[in-house]
């Protein structure tokens, strides 16, 4: 076998192995779709049906009749969007100040910020709940949004980016034109930070959408649940009606996949670059 042929064989083998991995990665989604589009009787058949059926809409209807999925989806969209907007704003003003300006105690303050990375959230779960109870926030969206409205991760990320992307000359020019800190932020920094903001935005949105532990703890009122909590209850309450539960999970996953696809390429590149830099 000559070198060219060997290379071709190796390339085919690589693709076959990689596609096998892709199949594993995609299969649960396919299986979710199969079950969401069939009746529960179909699911319990042996051997199991491996192709999608025709009951998808019917199952969606059943989901909406059983739990307040529309309401909890609206709640989740609200919480995720507000959290994302707040994180982008608060993180970027802090990052801009840290990256491009000097002020007393700056380095100390930044070290403090980095140290907070290390603290696991479980340590403060119980007292955080007690604090929320004292604020009268248990069962309200403030309890989800406010503690996560600004974070060290995003400030660190945006600061690193701003150091390279926002040039001192541009800021000097803006200063000479009479721009104060806020105008420099809005007119110079924000446009230049856009790629990093997009990454942080997608990242924050996906995490807020998927958050389960804290909403489970703090949102007790059934009318104020998020999608993930409603979903877990749908699973617990209607354990036998698999097709309906699967229709619900499908609805919970689709928006995320859409958000991910919107920025996938840039997102993956940024994610990888960050890890390598560490």
């Amino acid at each position: 076998m000559n070198a060219v042929a060997a290379r071709r064989v190796w390339s085919v083998v690589t693709h076959v192995l990689l596609l096998l991995g892709v199949a594993v990665s995609i299969f649960p989604f396919y299986w979710m779709f199969v079950m969401a589009s069939r009746t529960t009787q179909d699911i319990f058949k042996f051997p199991p049906e491996l192709l999608p059926g025709t009951h998808l809409l019917e199952n969606f209807h059943k989901v909406f009749d059983s739990v307040n999925l529309l309401g909890s989806t609206a709640n989740t969209i609200f919480v995720a969007v507000v959290t994302t907007v707040l994180v982008l704003f608060f993180d970027s003003i802090a990052a801009f100040a840290f990256a491009k300006f000097d002020f007393p105690a700056k380095n100390l303050l930044f070290v403090v910020l980095l140290v907070t990375f290390m603290i696991p959230s479980q340590l403060s779960t119980v007292p955080s709940f007690v604090i929320m109870a004292n604020f009268g926030w248990v069962g309200s969206f403030q309890a989800l949004i406010v503690p996560g409205a600004v974070n060290a991760f995003g400030i660190f990320l945006l600061r690193q980016y701003a150091q390279g992307a926002v040039s001192a000359e541009l800021l000097d020019a803006a200063r000479i034109d009479g721009c104060n800190f806020w105008r420099q932020y809005w007119h110079v920094a924000v446009p230049l930070l856009r790629p990093a903001l997009a990454f942080l935005g997608i990242f924050t949105f996906i995490n807020a959408w998927n958050d389960y532990f804290w909403p489970l703890v703090v949102l007790i009122d059934p009318g104020r649940q998020t999608l993930q909590v409603a979903l877990s209850q749908l699973n617990g309450l209607y354990n036998t009606d698999y097709s309906m539960v699967m229709a619900g999970t499908l609805l919970a996953v689709i928006p995320l996949i859409i958000v991910f696809f919107l920025g996938a390429r840039q997102f993956l590149a940024d994610l990888a670059a960050g890890a390598v830099k560490q």
Partner: protein
Amino acid sequence: MTTTTPIAAPAQAPEERRTTGSHAGRSKSELLSLYLAISPFYILFAIFGLFPIGFSLYLSFQNWNGIGAMKFVGLAQYQFMLSDPIFWKSIVNTFQIWFISTIPMLFFALVIAFMLNQQIRGRSAYRIAYFIPNVTSIVAIAIIFGSIFSNNFGLLNAALEGLHLDTVEWLNTPWGIKVAIAAMVIWRWTGYNAIIYLAGLQAIPTELYEAAKVDGASLWQVFFRITVPLLRPIILFTVITSTIGGMQLFTEPQVLVGNGGGPGSEGTTMVLYLYQQAFINNQFGYGAAIGWGLFVIMILFSLINWRLVQGAGNRGSRKGVRA
């Protein structure tokens, strides 16, 4: 999992640090603006980060159900914790699940990254396909895996039956539960780690590979003598992040086998046990003590992993390739 991982900073060449002006040249109002800009983080951290930590230390010395009066009990919660068989079981469970998920996960991730690093078509499509599991709702995935691993009508058991093999009561047996949970972790995080490794591989100079080829090295030798040693810092990064993530495992077991951790508490992880004690049994003081126990274990285990990966890498580099 919550996002405590210190990942990501865009691929931007860090320019020499330049800050405009000096302290002396700043007007008072500008300094005020700067402190105002950074203040939200410190205010929220003080209320929802720092204060709760002190408060949780205080709570861990109390007996409190969240409604009545607190009762100071000194170290009793900690003493109870150390003699609580389910607390120890939750530690053992967490480590078992971590072990059987992390090793295959990082190995598969490395192999996938190695393959994707060849001159191969459709690389970005592959990257997207491998990353999709990571952006999916864990609750949804736990429900789907629950149906795949289901004892009676699960797809996996149907497949085993189809192959005339013995079926397994996945969600009733000690190892079955752990394998099901580990499968979810592996499925969710392999692609993520592969993307991270791929970025590391692309930073390795191609001359090294070419030199190895000239010297007649086999693919196997290239992988273990060049790729793995040079990836050491990145492998360390992924080991530490999966340690932190693995110690915080909660959603997968909670949705799969419920608050009690399933038969024999075999699926009770440390965080699930904290949740169960604090928010199901209303043992707030005990929950706080478990939080501190968890914190100590996480720190110790992260340090051990750090030393192990560093040490292994050092030995590797002394033998041959130098980073």
